[in-house]
């Protein structure tokens, strides 16, 4: 018989924005974990006080899913990711316990002056297509459906949603510190959907069957009885919330702008649009552009400027997440872009007839995309893994990956059957061996994998930064010449 009293309790802790305040809170309530700090290189932590309590550090976005599937009994992450999950799976296995009362800002629906949208009512009545960009596609869809918008398209992005309006989106659903903070980005807040505070969440079954009381009691002093800041957007009754919510008048927004002395930014349409990656690839890409003799102001800086300027007046440049670039080139928002070959391949696995074409590799930031398993798994290559899975020892094989479409195709092509994909937002190695059996992820040297007792069983491909283009732009009579000019200029940087 399973003894729930003595059973291990597993807690999922966030990386990133909530790491420090969560670490302070845990220390304060005597529930500290050694090594839970910004500098940590480990993912697995043990409680100093409770021998039966363990924790793992995960990407915040992964936490609601991991708690819902039962890999963790409890978790701490932002309310935004909790609601993003619950709005799609309201009757699921995820239970909100309480707000932990730290965090800042909220999730807002924003537009730009150029979109010509002045109220939510106007959005419902609008007959033309409305493009909505968001890191929170489920919240964005719920918003659009509850407003009864007639035609809308949701573009899920990995980040940098604020860079899209007005040229590439009419609305964005994104995090903002305050309405004024949103206004400083040249955007108009239309509606606040929910506040972003850290939340304690639990798996329903664990809560019903397992004794979590000792852990919950530690939080006791921190839990607030009523949650005025967090309850107005109970998505269970969201239809009402949307309609009853405060509506913003454009005059009010204009006043905010006046107070903040922000002039209406003008972003004139450019003939050729180029997307550049932020993040890891940014420094080497900036170096490459310099080599090619293309002066881009504001790209090599520490603080990301979403719209750096070039010395060519017909060239518009935006800096967005490399993961989002292929799709943004496919839908014609950009003519040319620099991104990783891995993300191009991920896009083409999902949309094989996409009009995105690779022009040439830049040879920068080369990584290998590999399949890796725990060192303890008695397989040396993918063929052995296939037999191993067939012997049903690990059926279905749980595969964690940032590249779900590449992983899906790889597993199908190699006749691994059955398998289950676990989408992650990076750091897939944290999932093995408890929460996944295999990962498909990129690695530079393989050192990190080794540190986590993993071994590579296959190299899928090598990936470096590359220049990609929209095929229709390449063929377009008015853009052909300038595309050629720019491509040649960049090719010169290869030397």
């Amino acid at each position: 018989m399973k003894d729930y009293q003595a059973a291990y309790i597993k807690l999922a802790l966030p990386k990133g924005r909530f790491l420090s305040p969560t670490a302070s809170l845990l220390a304060e309530i005597d529930l500290g974990f050694e090594g839970y700090s910004d500098k940590t290189k480990q993912y697995r932590l043990r409680s100093a006080r409770f021998p039966s309590l363990s924790a793992k550090i995960l990407q915040e976005k992964d936490i609601p899913i991991q708690v819902a599937v039962g890999n963790y009994d409890l978790g701490i992450c932002g309310l935004d990711w909790v609601e993003e999950f619950l709005v799609k799976y309201p009757a699921g296995a995820l239970v909100k316990i309480a707000s932990l009362n730290y965090g800042e800002g909220g999730i807002h629906v924003v537009t730009s002056a150029q979109a010509g949208i002045t109220s939510l009512d106007e959005l419902s009545a609008r007959r033309n297509d409305c493009r909505i960009v968001s890191e929170y596609p489920n919240l964005a869809e719920a918003f659009a459906l509850n407003l009864r918008m007639r035609r809308f398209r949701i573009f899920p992005v990995w980040g940098a949603a604020e860079a899209y309006p007005p040229e590439n989106a009419d609305l964005a659903v994104l995090w903002g510190r305050s309405r004024a903070h949103i206004a400083t980005q040249g955007l108009i807040p239309l509606e606040k959907l929910l506040p972003v505070t850290a939340f304690l969440i639990a798996n329903r079954e664990s809560l019903e069957n397992k004794d979590l009381s000792r852990i919950l009691m530690c939080f006791d002093s921190k839990l607030t009885a009523d949650l005025p800041a967090c309850s107005p957007y109970d998505f269970g009754r969201r239809a009402e919330a949307w309609q009853a919510g405060p509506q913003t008048s454009i005059e009010h927004e204009l006043n905010i702008r006046k107070e903040l002395k922000i002039s209406r930014p003008s972003w004139p349409a450019k003939e050729i649009n180029l997307a550049l990656p932020d993040g890891h690839q940014q420094a080497s890409t900036a170096q490459f552009l310099k080599q090619a003799g293309l002066t881009v102001q504001g790209y090599a800086e520490e603080v990301v400027r979403r719209r750096p300027s070039a010395d060519l007046d017909w060239l518009g440049i935006k800096v967005i997440r490399p993961q989002d670039i292929p799709l943004q080139v496919a839908n014609g928002n950009f003519d040319l872009a620099i991104t990783g070959e891995d993300w191009l391949r991920e896009h083409l696995c999902r949309f094989p007839s996409s009009p995105v074409k690779k022009l040439f590799a830049l040879g920068l930031g080369t990584v290998k995309v590999v399949a890796a398993v725990s060192q303890e798994m008695p397989v040396a290559d993918i063929d052995e893994l296939r037999s191993f899975v067939q012997s049903s020892k690990f059926a279905p094989l749980r595969v964690a990956s940032e590249y779900i479409n590449i992983a899906d195709k790889y597993l199908r092509d190699n006749h691994i059957n059955p398998y289950k994909l676990i989408p992650t937002w990076g750091a897939s190695e944290a999932f093995l061996p408890e929460d996944a059996d295999m990962l498909i992820d990129n690695t530079q040297t393989g050192k990190t994998l080794k540190q986590h007792q993993l071994k590579i069983i296959d190299v899928l491909f090598q990936s470096s930064a590359c220049l990609i283009a929209n095929k229709d732009s390449l063929a377009s009579s008015d853009r052909k010449e300038k595309m050629k000019f720019l491509t040649q200029k960049l090719r010169a940087g290869l030397l």
């Binding site: 009757a91 573009f155 949309f351």
Partner: protein, 406 residues
């Protein structure tokens, strides 16, 4: 998810065949719409309610880089309205019917995600007569299926909307209240603070009483002379339809609360109940075609729900025992196999059901069994399974003669 087994399919086809026959006899033409439709068809106000929209299966189209989303058809009427606008709007009048599956998910994963319905839609035409036509057509299908103790409940969407207006709610509150009412939650409205005692009285009459004929609506009209113009005109419409139904001998009950689920109805709404379950429903939806960028064409229609209807039909066995013939080969030699196939073909050509068997199993559930032995002069042994008689037969012509004479 559910499988339909042979005995389920017999009932399914009986419903479908009855429905098809009735519709054709009334001059309706069959259409079929695609399983995948664009999501935007269903999102505008006046199509599906937010709670229904939260249950659709939607995903990116194949060219998902454009962000276009498609949906597994969540409703029959809206798809057929789109078909009419795209292809048949030149016609002044269109009577269309369909048998289709619709898809909706729900959190528990326990209920069926795929449901079947038989629907008919009437586009164009004057008012009143089409309303009565669809009620009577639906009733005829149910009657011909032999389902008894069916209750027909009538309501009127225009009347409900006019009633809501009397509460002087803000547009947002009114939209919220409409959704609640469509989800069957009338308490929300009765709890809302009413503006006058007159409205309390009206609500009590409409929600508390169930009319059995148009007289009830006459009484309502007489008791509440001060209602709004919208309310009056909807009441007149409702009265005219119920009077026609009375004259045609159709029995029904008036239940203002019988208006579940669909936001697109504008006029009369009806639903059929049997054994406590809703087996069908329909109504008038004059604003849907213009809302979907079509002409200003009035329309009405109904759908019968196949899944609850199947449960109400008796199980029936395939009528193999009555008329079926089993052709058995004594061995698997090429000559015998060839002779068996030839015999079966002749029997089928003559209109009989002929099944082949080479396993030598004992089988009793047939009218006739023909053993092909290949021996001369009588290569066949014919067994009459009813009379329990067996005889040797020399030729195919003789078999056909005996079998046809029964």
């Amino acid at each position: 998810m559910q499988d339909l087994l042979p005995e389920d399919m017999l009932r399914f086809r009986r419903i479908e065949d009855t429905f098809r026959t009735c519709c054709r006899n009334w001059g309706y033409q069959e259409v079929r719409t695609p399983t995948l439709e664009y999501l935007y068809l269903f999102t505008a106000t006046g199509t599906l309610t937010p709670s229904m929209l939260s249950k659709v299966y939607s995903f990116l189209d194949w060219d998902g880089w454009s962000g276009e989303r498609v949906v597994l058809r969540p409703d029959g009427t809206i798809s057929v309205a789109r078909l009419y606008i795209d292809n048949l709007s030149e016609q002044e009048l269109a009577r269309l019917f369909y048998v289709t599956n619709i898809f909706a998910f729900e959190g528990t994963g326990k209920k069926n995600r795929e449901r079947w319905q038989c629907g008919a839609e009437f586009f164009g035409g004057a008012k009143l007569a089409p309303d009565v036509e669809i009620v009577l057509l639906a009733e005829e299908v149910i009657r011909r299926l032999g389902i008894s103790n069916v209750r027909l409940q009538l309501s009127h969407a225009g009347l409900v909307k006019a009633l809501l207006k009397e509460f002087n709610l803000s547009p947002a509150e009114e939209a919220k209240m409409t959704n609640r009412i469509l989800e069957g939650n009338w308490q929300a409205l009765t709890k809302a603070k009413s503006t006058t005692p007159e409205i309390d009285r009206l609500m009590a009459a409409l929600l508390g009483l169930k009319g059995k004929s148009s007289s009830f609506l006459h009484n309502v009209r007489a008791s509440f002379p001060k209602v709004s113009r919208d309310f009056k005109s909807s009441l007149e419409d409702f009265l005219s339809i119920t009077t026609l139904l009375d004259n045609l001998g159709c029995s029904y009950e008036i239940d203002i609360a019988a208006i579940h689920g669909f936001e697109y109805y504008t006029g009369i709404c009806f639903q059929f109940l049997a054994a406590g379950e809703k087996i069908g429903g329909g109504g008038r939806y004059d604003k849907l075609v213009p809302l979907m960028n079509g002409e200003d064409i009035p329309a009405c229609g109904f759908a019968l729900y196949v899944d609850p209807l199947m449960k109400l039909l008796p199980l029936e066995k395939e009528k193999k025992g009555g008329s079926g013939i089993l052709v058995k080969g004594q061995s698997l030699t090429p000559e015998i196999v060839k002779a068996c196939f030839a015999v079966a073909e002749s029997l089928r050509d003559a209109g009989h059901l002929a099944e082949l068997d080479f396993t030598g199993r004992e089988e009793s559930n047939y009218r006739w069994v023909i053993l092909v032995s290949g021996k001369k002069p009588s290569p066949f042994v014919l067994t009459d399974c009813v009379q329990k008689r067996r005889r040797e037969v020399a030729s195919m012509a003789e078999i056909l003669k005996v079998v046809s004479e029964g």
